[in-house]
Amino acid sequence: MIVAEQKPLAEIRALVGDAKRVLVVGCGTCVTVCFAGGAKEAGVLGSLLRMGAQLDGNVKDVSEVTVQRQCEREYLDGIREQVEQADAVLSLGCGIGVQAIAEQFPNAIVVPGLNTSFLGKPAAHGEWVERCAACGNCLLGVTGGICPIARCAKQLLNGPCGGSSKGKCEVGTGDSKPDCAWQLIYDKLKAQDRLHLITEVAPPKDWRTSRDGGPRRIVREDLKLPSTGGQK
């Protein structure tokens, strides 16, 4: 899932600025699950904006709506009227949601209420961890199901570096020290008697499938409909 967290309120208020009519748009998918931008968070944030405006002696007309998935055109069609009536749209979607609204409603002023953090999963209640860097060429089959691109601070393909100590990465301090991804890879492959997978030198990665190759796009001819075209 996409993991995000809400921006500080002061920043959100600055982004909304003088807009009188504000539409807070929550998203019912990833950011709902990570308690950052679902219907509940949209409601709380809407109230905070109203209260903040009142304290400043202003009046803001803040309304909230949550769509199932901000990143899909069909779900956004349903909020067209509300978007068009708003002076500012505060998206509580991930970066994709913000851009989807901005693309679909070119006249709308859309600002983000979240910082999109990473692709990850819940580790414990109230804790999320990164697991994927979307590099476009998955290596998990040879690294024991542990990603060195997302989880090694140096993205080593032939780790661990000399800073691995007692299972922890050299980066960070105290409890914030992440696990050494290469210690995890070693432990897993050793337990499975598959260390041979990492005894040869892993060649340099071809980063073209990652962000380095430019913005990415997937075209599936088998799924395309003749009339719909696509987005560049």
């Binding site: 601070a153 140096k154 032939n158 661990p160 000399g162 691995s164 980066v171 030198v201």
Partner: protein, 332 residues
């Protein structure tokens, strides 16, 4: 270890002839003053076969290792250019390697690099396009295959470096470290400089496994040593530096050195004397370990200690150059 690839490295020649090699380190300044490099170089001249020039060590901006290496070479040292994967992608690295070779550099040490969060620009984006193992492969490829990393042939002179890498015998997982070193041999590394050794028994065990794997037939291992300046430095290394193993006895010995000395200056001198003494003893022990081909002496920001340690450890004078393989001008 192979010095027959057309490299004209003095270090390669020393190792090839079976001399117990000595390398040390020169940290470039955090400014643009060439005199600082020259002064340090003059201190180190004659004490080592080659001198590592660090590359933004601990992720702090310093004069470029190649530029400082050129200055050090003018002072009669043979530089080992350190190159980290943190700050440059494969294009920039190869470009700098071509330039370094053109400027007379003959040795490269391939490193991952300390993470930028430790340094003075923690906001920086890191690169890590390739890792240190792949950097070794790339530099070896430039030399032996005459090809860039992409496979394209180098038309004209190709850089023929003597290629080094680092290994931390005290990093975890301990059992994997010898195999990881073997991977560096497979990548084509000619020599290895290790992290600072303070725990000799543990290092001996590491070396036993490395020798058993046949790694020392492929490359030369230089054991890392360094004099401790103070008990505080010893404690810091023991407690704060990831992947360092400083036994309590060493820390206690450093602490004992200053006990009962009231005068601050005299106490500092006593600490330093003990630090140097421990280092000299350590070199004696390391020399006896099978597979150790030399030492890499790291006296960080304490270059004055290098002549003292090397003298007392009976490592001087360094062997004279074999003229036919020498790439360095004679000291002037």
């Amino acid at each position: 270890m192979n010095a027959s690839n057309g490299t004209t490295s003095r270090l390669a020649s020393i190792l090839k002839h079976g001399h117990f090699a000595v390398t040390t380190e020169l940290g470039p300044p955090k400014n643009a003053d060439p005199e600082i490099v020259r002064a340090k170089a003059r201190l180190l001249r004659g004490c080592a076969d080659a001198v590592n020039i660090t590359d933004n060590q601990t992720a702090i901006v310093r004069m470029s290792s190649i530029a400082a290496g050129v200055i050090a070479r003018q002072e009669g040292l043979e530089p080992v250019i350190q190159m980290t994967c943190r700050d440059r992608n494969r294009l920039a690295m190869q470009s700098d390697l071509l330039g370094a070779y053109a400027l007379g550099m003959r040795n490269v040490l391939c490193l991952s690099g300390d993470h930028q969060t430790f340094g003075n620009h923690p906001q920086a984006k890191n690169v890590h396009d390739i890792d240190s193992m792949q950097l070794v492969q790339m530099v070896v490829g430039l030399r032996d295959r005459g090809c860039f990393q992409c496979g394209e042939e180098i038309k004209g002179d190709n850089p023929r470096f003597f290629v080094g890498a680092a290994e931390n015998p005290f990093g975890d997982p301990f059992d994997w470290r010898p195999y990881r070193l073997a991977k560096k041999a497979k990548a084509g590394a000619d020599f290895i400089q290790t992290q600072l050794v303070f725990n000799v028994p543990r290092f001996r065990e590491f070396m036993r496994r490395v020798v058993d794997l046949g790694v020392t037939e492929e490359l030369s291992i230089l054991a890392g040593v360094g004099p401790l300046k103070s008990p505080a430095a010893a404690r810091y290394m023991r407690d704060q530096v990831p992947g360092m193993d400083v036994p309590d006895e060493i820390v206690e010995r450093m602490e004992a050195a200053g006990r009962g000395i009231e005068d601050k200056k005299a106490r500092t001198a006593a600490y330093r004397e003990t630090g140097i003494q421990i280092c000299v003893e350590m070199i004696g022990e390391l020399r006896e370990i099978k597979g150790v081909a030399g030492i890499h002496l790291m006296a960080i920001e304490w270059e004055d200690a290098v002549p003292i340690v090397t003298e007392r450890a009976k490592l001087l004078p360094r062997p004279a150059l074999e003229p036919e393989t020498s790439a360095c001008p004679p000291p002037h």
